[in-house]
Amino acid sequence: VTAEIQSKNTWLKVAVVAGFCHLFLVALGAAEYEFSDDHWWSRALSYYGEVTGSSFGYGFFAPGVTSQIRAVFDVVESDSHQNTLQLFDESNREVAIRIGDIIEQFMADDVSGDDKMKFQRELSASLSSAVFIRHPGAKSVTIRLEKFSPISMADYRNGVRPEWQPLYSAEFVNHQKLSP
């Protein structure tokens, strides 16, 4: 019985030490420390962070609120009738937040210059393609990305009102429909 208790205590001590090592990595992740790719052990710790979630940051709404981007699609149907629609039903908040996250990628900071233009073109083509799948007879789909920048309380009191501002627009044509 004594040996069993001692063995149990050893495992508990190991669990405590492992737990605190893990929490140390959690603290590093929360402080937004990123392991480099230079050594095998730093790559291993980086992968451990992905596996366990210890590398995640927690700066929600920090340091502040900036702007929002939305995508609106003008669909010209086969009978030339035009519809304006969004990708999702706004009443389903969970879906709205997720698709909003995809659209927010449009302004991602990790690419710039020509790469950013290429990425924006690919993303708008991808989103428009999803609209074509829902409207297979459509002649064209125009994606309009609009930006909403909130104003300060003082500006609001002075009569300024925030509006959606055009940010990007691209038209995609269904060539299959145009061919004889």
Binding site: L23, G53, N92, E94, A96, F148
Partner: protein
């Protein structure tokens, strides 16, 4: 002599803090609550799983590959594994989604808890990596705590496993270790979040609450009247900072624990109602309410 006594006192305190046998009820409550929130999320997402996870969905082909980390498991890897059996992408998405919901249901019920925790974590991670560009705070916390459920004894009570073993509410040191690690993790997240927020000017001058409530994605009610009551918005921002920065300290003493639990639950209830972040708010309320609000002690002293 004094140093030896101090060292002895610290070792005893740490040993009591980490190893005093505890009930697994807070861990079991968290297991059930997180499973329910994630099942609700799966139910809400049911109509868009192909739009989100398919290479023919919103984020297509090469673009999806560039936004995802290919070294992490995702549905394309499941397709590769099942390719010899002729499995299509549609089948793989349905298979992973169905397996995730089933394992999550059994995790909530506490049947083969550790195995189900592993499967829930794995399938959740696969889905998360497949649609990396759609993830937000809820997914991050779910991933972290599903991983913990593999290791902590969250199935010791309020579970089918406990009923089958005939155990009602055992007190174990392993439950205490698990509970402390999860509690400390939550403290670190609130401290980090509070520090990052405190570096933003908007959190100090009231603009944060105002701007967040004005953004169409979060706007639930007409809150434009706030512009004429800036003090209200400012004080709400300060209270959020106090709640998050003070969490690490004031969640522990019995005399302040109840206040902090109520503050944090209130903060996230506000996020649910006024920002419409329903599931994120729910999971955050659940974390503090279960880990610090449910008693692990023999005399039920968690909130007394």
């Amino acid at each position: 002599m004094t140093i030896a006594r101090l060292k002895n006192t610290m070792v005893n305190w740490f040993s009591n803090f980490m190893l005093t046998p505890a009930s697994a009820r807070p861990l079991a409550a968290l297991r059930i609550a997180i499973s329910l929130v994630l099942l609700l999320q799966a139910f809400l997402m049911r109509s868009v799983i192909f739009d989100i996870f398919s290479v023919h969905g919103y984020v297509q082909g090469e673009l999806a590959k560039s936004l995802n980390n290919s070294t992490l498991p995702q549905i394309s890897h499941v397709m590769w594994l099942l390719k010899p059996f002729g499995a299509s992408e549609t089948f793989c998405i349905l298979f992973v989604s169905f397996a995730y919901v089933v394992s999550l249901s059994f995790l909530g019920l506490g049947f083969n808890t550790r195995t189900m925790a592993f499967l829930s974590w794995l399938f959740h991670w696969v889905l998360m990596n497949t649609a990396n560009s759609t993830t937000y705070g809820l997914d991050l916390y779910a991933h972290v705590f599903l991983f913990y459920f593999i290791w902590v004894p969250c199935g010791l009570t309020w579970s089918i496993d406990a009923i089958l073993k005939g155990e009602k509410n055992p007190f174990t040191s392993s439950a205490r270790v698990g509970l402390r690690i999860l509690q400390l993790h939550l403290c670190i997240t609130y401290l980090a979040s509070g520090i990052e927020k405190s570096q933003g000017e908007q959190w100090w001058n009231g603009e944060l609450m105002w701007r967040a409530l004005m953004l169409p994605v979060y706007r639930q009610f007409d809150m434009t009247w706030l512009a004429h009551w800036p003090l209200f918005s400012t004080v709400t921002g300060w209270l959020t900072l106090v709640a998050e920065l003070g969490y690490f300290i004031f969640i522990w003493p019995k005399c302040t624990r109840k206040i902090w639990v109520l503050m944090i639950v209130g903060l996230h209830f506000g996020i649910v109602i006024f920002l419409g972040l329903h599931l994120f708010g729910l999971i955050m309320m659940t974390l503090t309410a279960c880990l610090f609000g449910v008693s692990a002690e023999k005399n039920n002293e968690a909130l007394q």
